[in-house]
C-alpha cells in the first residue's frame, strides 16, 4: 500500500518536475540567505510575479488549444497607457477618483478586443496563431508608440498608485487578484464544458470538430481571455508604477511562455494545467527574488532561466517519452 502511494507521488513528480525544482530552490535560498525566508518577502514574490502570472493563466488556455499568443507584451503596454492616460482626460475632470473606472474599463476592453481580433483572424483565415500574433505583436507595439507619441504617461491621481500598493487583510491586493484569478481559471479549465473543450480542441482538432465543438469561436474566446489577462496585467503594472511607458511589457511574451512551459503545458496542445503554470510562475519569481537578494547580477538570472527551461524540456522528454512511435535514428 505504502509502495503504491510512493509510486503515485514519484509519478506525479515525474510529470511535474517543476514542483521538485521549486522545493529545491526554496530550501536553497532559505538556507543561504537570511532575508529570503520572511513573510514580507513572500508577499513581495507574489506581487512581483502577479504580472507575468496573470498573463500566463490566459496563455495556458491558448497553448492547450494548440495556439500561442506572442502579442501579450504589446497589449500590456497598450492597456497600461490607456488606463493611465484616459483617467486624466478632461471629460472625466469632475469624476474625481471615479475617473479611474472608465479608464481601466477601456484598457481591459482594448485587451479583450485585440484578443478577439487575433482569434477571429486565426479562425477565419486559418493562418497559424504564431504568425497572426507575431504580426499583432509588431503592429500593436507600433500602435502604442503612435498613441503615446513615444512618451511616458504619469498617473496624476494618487488613488491609482495607492491601489497598486494596497492590501486586503494580510495580503497585497495584487497578490490576491492573482490568486483569485488562478483559482477561477483553474475551475474554468477543470470543471466546465469550455475547459474540457479546450483540451479536446488542442488534443485532436478534427475529433473536436466531429464531436460538435465549434472550434473557431472556442479558440476566439480563449484569445479574448488571454487578451483580458494581458490588459489586466498592464493595469496592475501601471498602478504599481503610477505610470506607463511605451516600452512596457517588452519580452513579456517570452517570460510568460517560459513560465507556462516550465509548468508542463505542451506547445503542441492538449496538455497542461493551471496548477503547473502557477508552479512555473512561482519558480521564476522565487529564482529572480532569491538571486536578487543574494546580489547576483540580473544577467545570471537570464542564463539560469534559459538553462532551466531547456533542462525541464529535456527532463520531461526523458521521463515521459511517448517513446515508441518516435523514430530512433
Amino acid at each position: 500500500m505504502a509502495d503504491t502511494s510512493k509510486n503515485a507521488f514519484a509519478t506525479w513528480l515525474m510529470r511535474n518536475p517543476i514542483w521538485g525544482f521549486i522545493v529545491i530552490i526554496f530550501v536553497f535560498f532559505s538556507v543561504s540567505n537570511e532575508y529570503f525566508f520572511d513573510l514580507q518577502n513572500f508577499r513581495n514574490i507574489l506581487v512581483q510575479t502577479s504580472t507575468i502570472g496573470l498573463i500566463a493563466l490566459g496563455m495556458t488556455l491558448v497553448m492547450i488549444n494548440g495556439n500561442i499568443d506572442l502579442s501579450v507584451g504589446a497589449v500590456v503596454a497598450l492597456a497600461a497607457s490607456l488606463a493611465v492616460d484616459l483617467q486624466s482626460w478632461g471629460v472625466f475632470a469632475t469624476w474625481g477618483n471615479w475617473a479611474i473606472l472608465p479608464a481601466v474599463a477601456t484598457a481591459l476592453a482594448a485587451g479583450i478586443a485585440l484578443g478577439a481580433l487575433n482569434g477571429f483572424i486565426v479562425w477565419k483565415t486559418g493562418v497559424d496563431a504564431f504568425i497572426v500574433t507575431l504580426g499583432a505583436m509588431i503592429g500593436v507595439r507600433g500602435l502604442v508608440f503612435i498613441y503615446t507619441r513615444e512618451e511616458s504617461f504619469f498617473a496624476s491621481n494618487f488613488a491609482y498608485s495607492d491601489f497598486g500598493s494596497s492590501s486586503v487583510g494580510p495580503l497585497p491586493t495584487l497578490a490576491v487578484l492573482f490568486l483569485v484569478f488562478t483559482v477561477v481559471t483553474h475551475l474554468l479549465l477543470s470543471r466546465t464544458v469550455h475547459g474540457r473543450n479546450t483540451y479536446a480542441v488542442g488534443g485532436n482538432r478534427e475529433a473536436a470538430v466531429n464531436a460538435g465543438i465549434r472550434v473557431g469561436p472556442h479558440m476566439m474566446i480563449n484569445f479574448m481571455i488571454v487578451g483580458f489577462f494581458a490588459a489586466l496585467a498592464g493595469v496592475t503594472l501601471s498602478s504599481q508604477m503610477g505610470a506607463a511607458t511605451p516600452n512596457l511589457g517588452r519580452d513579456y511574451e517570452l517570460w510568460v511562455i517560459t513560465a507556462t512551459v516550465l509548468g508542463g503545458t505542451k506547445l503542441t496542445g492538449g496538455a497542461g494545467n493551471i496548477i503547473g503554470t502557477f508552479g512555473g510562475v512561482l519558480a521564476i519569481g522565487i529564482l529572480r527574488n532569491g538571486m536578487n537578494l543574494m546580489q547576483v547580477p540580473a544577467f545570471y538570472v537570464l542564463v539560469i532561466l534559459g538553462v532551466i527551461l531547456i533542462a525541464v524540456l529535456f527532463l520531461d522528454k526523458q521521463l515521459n517519452r511517448r517513446g515508441k512511435q518516435e523514430l530512433k535514428i
Binding site: W123, T125, I131, V132, D251, V303, G306, V307, L313, I329
Partner: protein
C-alpha cells in the same frame, strides 16, 4: 468548366504573389514620393535591410528544415559585442575569427539540442535567447563597448566600405543570398533539408541523417548571424548589450513574408530576400510619405497576415478557413 485563364491567374498569384505585392509596393511608393525611386534611396534601403536580410537567409534554411530559431536576436547582440570588444584587444583579424567560432559554438548548442536531443526548437531557442542575452551582459558587465580607432581600421569595410563600387553590406547580402539559393536549390544538401522539413519520417527512411542535417542548419543560421554582426559592428563601430533585441521576430517576419512555411519543407531563399526588402521598402516608403516612424509596424502587421493568408488561401482553393 472553370475558366482556365482564371485558374492560371490564381496559380500565378499563389506562386508569385509575393513578387506581385513587391511590385505594387514599389509602384505605389514611387507614385507618392518622387525621392523613392532614386538609386541613392534604393541603395540606402537595401543597405539597411542587409543585416536582417543576412540573418534571414540562415533562418530560412532552419525553417525549411522544419524548425525555428528565435535565438538569432540575442546571438546578434553577443557576436557584435564580442567582435567589437576584441577588435581593440587582439586586432580585427583574430577578433573576427574568434567571434565566428564562438557564434558557431552557440549554433552547435542549438543544433545539438534540437537535432540530436530532439527537443522542441521553439522552446530550445527561446531558452537560448535568454541564456545568450545573459551571457552577453555577463561578458560586458553591462557596459557598452566601442572601437577606439575608428578612422584607420580596415574593419570599417564590412559596414561602411565599398567593394567594386558596391556597398559591402549589399554585396554580402545579395552574394550570400545567391550562394545559399544555389546550395538549397541545386545541391543534395539543399534537397535533404527540404526532405527533412517536409516529411521527417520519410526522409529518415530514405537514408538521410536527420540529426546531422538539422544540426548543420543551425550552424548555418549561426554563421549568417555572425556575418550580420560583422556588418552591424563595423557600421556602428560600437555596440550596446541588447542591440539585437527583437531582431529574431523581424527576421522571422521577413522569412514568413517570403512565403516560407513554418511547417517546414517549403520556402525559397530568393523570396526571403524579397520579403526582407518589402519590409525595408515599407519602412522607407512610409517615412518618405511623411507617416510617423511607427506606422511601418502597423503596415507590417497587416502585410504579414495578408501575405500568409493569401498564400494558404490559394493552396486550399478557398479564401476562408474550413474551421467551424
Amino acid at each position: 468548366m472553370a475558366d482556365p485563364r482564371l485558374k492560371s491567374i490564381g496559380d500565378l498569384l499563389a506562386r508569385q504573389g509575393i513578387l506581385i505585392a513587391f511590385a505594387i509596393f514599389l509602384v505605389g511608393f514611387a507614385v507618392f514620393s518622387d525621392r523613392f525611386l532614386t538609386p541613392e534611396n534604393l541603395e540606402t534601403v537595401i543597405r539597411q535591410a542587409a543585416i536582417i536580410g543576412v540573418m534571414a537567409i540562415g533562418v530560412t534554411v532552419v525553417v525549411i528544415g522544419g524548425n525555428l530559431d528565435l535565438s538569432v536576436g540575442s546571438m546578434l547582440s553577443f557576436s557584435t559585442v564580442l567582435v567589437v570588444d576584441l577588435h581593440d584587444k587582439i586586432g580585427p583579424e583574430l577578433a573576427i575569427v574568434v567571434m565566428l567560432a564562438a557564434t558557431l559554438v552557440l549554433g552547435a548548442i542549438n543544433g545539438f539540442l534540437v537535432g540530436v536531443a530532439r527537443l522542441n526548437s521553439l522552446i530550445v531557442t527561446l531558452g537560448m535567447l535568454s541564456a545568450i542575452q545573459g551571457l552577453t551582459l555577463i561578458y560586458t558587465g553591462g557596459k557598452n563597448v566601442d572601437i577606439l580607432d575608428q578612422e584607420t581600421t580596415w574593419f570599417a569595410i564590412f559596414g561602411r566600405g565599398h567593394i567594386l563600387g558596391i556597398a559591402t553590406p549589399i554585396l554580402m547580402f545579395l552574394g550570400l543570398a545567391l550562394f545559399m539559393h544555389v546550395v538549397m536549390a541545386y545541391t543534395p544538401f539543399g534537397r535533404r533539408v527540404y526532405a527533412v522539413g517536409g516529411n521527417p519520417t520519410a526522409a529518415v527512411f530514405s537514408g538521410i541523417r536527420r540529426s546531422r542535417l538539422v544540426f548543420s542548419t543551425y550552424l548555418i543560421s549561426a554563421f549568417t548571424t555572425g556575418l550580420a554582426a560583422l556588418i552591424l559592428g563595423s557600421r556602428v563601430m560600437g555596440s550596446q548589450n541588447n542591440v539585437g533585441q527583437g531582431y529574431e521576430l523581424l527576421v522571422l517576419a521577413g522569412v514568413i513574408l517570403g512565403g516560407t512555411s513554418l511547417l517546414g519543407g517549403s520556402g525559397n531563399i530568393l523570396k526571403t530576400v524579397i520579403g526582407v526588402l518589402i519590409l525595408g521598402f515599407i519602412q522607407n516608403g512610409l517615412l518618405l510619405m511623411g507617416f510617423p516612424y511607427y506606422a511601418q509596424w502597423l503596415v507590417t502587421w497587416v502585410v504579414i497576415i495578408l501575405a500568409v493568408w493569401l498564400d494558404i488561401a490559394a493552396k486550399r482553393g478557398r479564401l476562408l478557413s474550413p474551421i467551424a
